[in-house]
Symmetry: C2
Subunit: 200 residues, 2 copies
């Protein structure tokens, strides 16, 4: 089997959410696995001078329109959250805590968190919200709550976020195939061609 595809995303990123609906099926078509790697856009912005979309004049309002239009274009259910963007640190820590034990369930949790935020309009910034989403999947609430607060989880999360940024992830989604980086849900077509042809 060829190298897995690295899928970097922020839990507060609509375009990351869109890609989360597509990337595994796309990869499977070319017999690839996908390693989900949440990171924190806010930290990346410190390097690039980037800013959350709603804070950018003209470009911000455009993107809200583009997000709603793109969701329909891609056939992905989307409801713009009342609170946007949010801090995704707790979600990120929950992911890496679970990933250390059960990587497959971590991906399942990530999907559930994205759905809670971008479909059910649930503010998932607090640890309690993250835990309640996880509990619905049958994960142990007390264990997860302790895990989110565990210094080892915080360290692992920081390491993963720093690694993502060192690798060049400045936006979400940021998808890397055999060293080739693709930024944006709008690069899925190029990604498909890259997987099919081996690159150009």
């Amino acid at each position: 089997m060829a190298n897995p595809i690295d899928f970097y995303f922020d839990f507060s990123s609509p375009y990351g959410y869109f890609a989360s609906h597509k990337i595994d099926a796309l990869a499977a078509k070319y017999r690839r696995e996908v390693k989900w790697r949440p990171f924190l856009l806010g930290v990346a912005f410190k390097t690039t001078g980037g800013a959350p979309l709603p804070s950018i004049p003209v470009k911000g309002p455009y993107h809200l329109r583009d997000i709603l239009r793109t969701a329909k274009y891609l056939g992905v259910t989307y409801r713009h959250p009342s609170v946007f963007p949010i801090s995704s640190v707790s979600a990120c820590r929950a992911f890496y805590w679970l990933d250390a034990k059960e990587p497959k369930r971590a991906k399942e949790l990530a999907r559930a968190l994205y759905g809670a935020y971008f479909v059910d309009n649930m503010d998932i910034s607090g640890a309690d919200s993250v835990v309640s989403v996880a509990a619905k999947l049958g994960l142990n609430a007390d264990e997860l709550r302790a895990g989110i607060g565990d210094p080892a989880t915080k360290d692992r999360t920081k390491t993963e976020v720093d690694k993502a940024i060192a690798l060049g992830a400045f936006g979400s989604p940021y998808i890397v195939i055999d060293g080739e980086p693709f930024w944006g849900a709008d690069r899925l077509d190029q990604i498909e061609k890259w997987l099919a042809t081996g690159g150009w």
Copy 2:
């Protein structure tokens, strides 16, 4: 015939150049005309806080890679210019001077300027370069040189640039179909679907 499509672009924008290769054929498929409207990204950046790609850490190097990859993906000949980006004020003024007299030839001049910059690696920032590109198309060099310097041309250019920005053009290309804006050469697929279906 339905409303023309408005195609806003900067002469120094690789993604605008890519779109310039595609937009007329795409529009013609749906019996639409395209109004080419060069504007100045540098002026737009004053509103949005945007910056030329090469000046942005991490994102800048990514985009250079993405530009080269996207050119091949779209099948558009591209050579990254030695001097990038450049001021496109003279090119813009030449366009609007000609557009006032012969709109069809203005489009032809725009294509030639894009080709000079992004294929022949010619720095088109100076009025002399713009005039020499135009002369190859059989345009009168003295008339154009005078036209570029004419206060009426400068006014028209300023008006057009301000209009584009007031309309929301914050990046290049920025394509408007019946009031719906699309930013980026990577929105050509959505544009095609929008034209085919009337929107969603």
